[in-house]
């Protein structure tokens, strides 16, 4: 898949670059590529969230954090062998775990035969939402989504308060 190759290239760039400003920009581009991949995988809602959070909000937050630190990343002081080993082992474990996963789009897996089919049948007459994922998110799991929104909103308020306080103390000097 071309998009995944591009994403991998962008990630390599993010790891290699020492200029954090460029890294922020590249991670924004990565989010848009990820959103495209999610759209191709037919998960439009997740893609929308990825674009909103990854490309929109987190770019702004990263820049705000960059304001508090230096633009250039310091060279690593220790050898990367142990983290590399941990990452390779965990990656191998994840690949090993994904071997047992069913084929993409297989209709006869437990995921698609137990609960999911019931929702597929019931969602449009019960909720009137065309997209089943949207109906689950906004209707069947409405309170859960509301709780998530409250959490994110609270986090946003916290970040705003922190940044505001920093600005005021700076203007006093």
């Amino acid at each position: 898949m071309v998009l995944l190759t591009l994403m991998a290239l962008v990630v390599i760039g993010v790891v290699r670059l020492r200029n954090l400003f460029a890294v922020v920009i590249l991670s924004s581009a990565y989010s848009f590529l990820m959103a495209s991949v999610l759209i191709v995988l037919d998960a439009v809602d997740v893609a929308m969230t990825e674009a909103a959070v990854g490309a929109g909000v987190s770019t702004v937050l990263m820049l705000a954090a960059l304001y508090l630190t230096k633009v250039e990343e310091a060279a690593p002081r220790h050898t990367p062998l142990l983290p590399m080993f941990v990452a390779v082992v965990i990656g191998a474990a994840l690949v090993y775990g994904s071997v047992d996963m069913p084929n993409f789009g297989d209709a006869f897996t437990p995921v698609n035969t137990h609960v999911g089919s019931g929702y597929l049948v019931r969602s449009i007459p019960e909720t009137g939402v065309d997209n089943v994922v949207s109906s689950v998110l906004a209707s069947y799991r409405g309170y859960d989504t509301l709780g998530e929104t409250v959490v994110v909103f609270t986090a946003g308020i916290g970040v705003l308060l922190l940044l505001r306080r920093n600005k005021r103390s700076r203007s006093k000097d």
Binding site: V2, L3, L6, L9, V10, G13, N19, F21, A22, V24, I25, L26, S28, A29, F32, L33, A35, S36, I39, V40, V44, A47, M48, A51, A52, A55, G56, T59, V60, L63, A64, L66, Y67, D130, L163, K167
Partner: protein, 94 residues
């Protein structure tokens, strides 16, 4: 067929933009490239919607365009004023 060719062209342009974002010597090259990747994502969204004959995802393209502008303006404002909370409208003090 036409949409498939268009999707391929968009993918190629995405690849070129990624190359520029990785290679770009200055920050502005990378930023324009990131903006182009955002635009490519919008185009890919639209083309893929028509390719799979469900063009109702076009609305999300509008959202992408808005987000693309948010990121670009944030980066530019940071570069110009060195501070996201700046009110703007005047020359930077440094």
């Amino acid at each position: 067929m036409m949409f498939a060719v268009a999707a391929f062209a968009v993918l190629v342009s995405l690849g070129l933009a990624v190359i520029r974002a990785l290679a770009g010597p200055t920050v502005f090259d990378r930023m324009v490239a990131a903006n182009t990747i955002g635009n490519g994502a919008i185009l890919l969204l639209a083309v893929f919607g028509f390719l799979t004959e469900r063009p109702e995802f076009l609305d999300i393209g509008i959202l992408y365009a808005l987000l693309n502008i948010v990121g670009t303006i944030a980066v530019l404002k940071y570069f110009r004023y060195g501070d996201l909370g700046h009110r703007g409208g005047e020359e930077p003090s440094q």
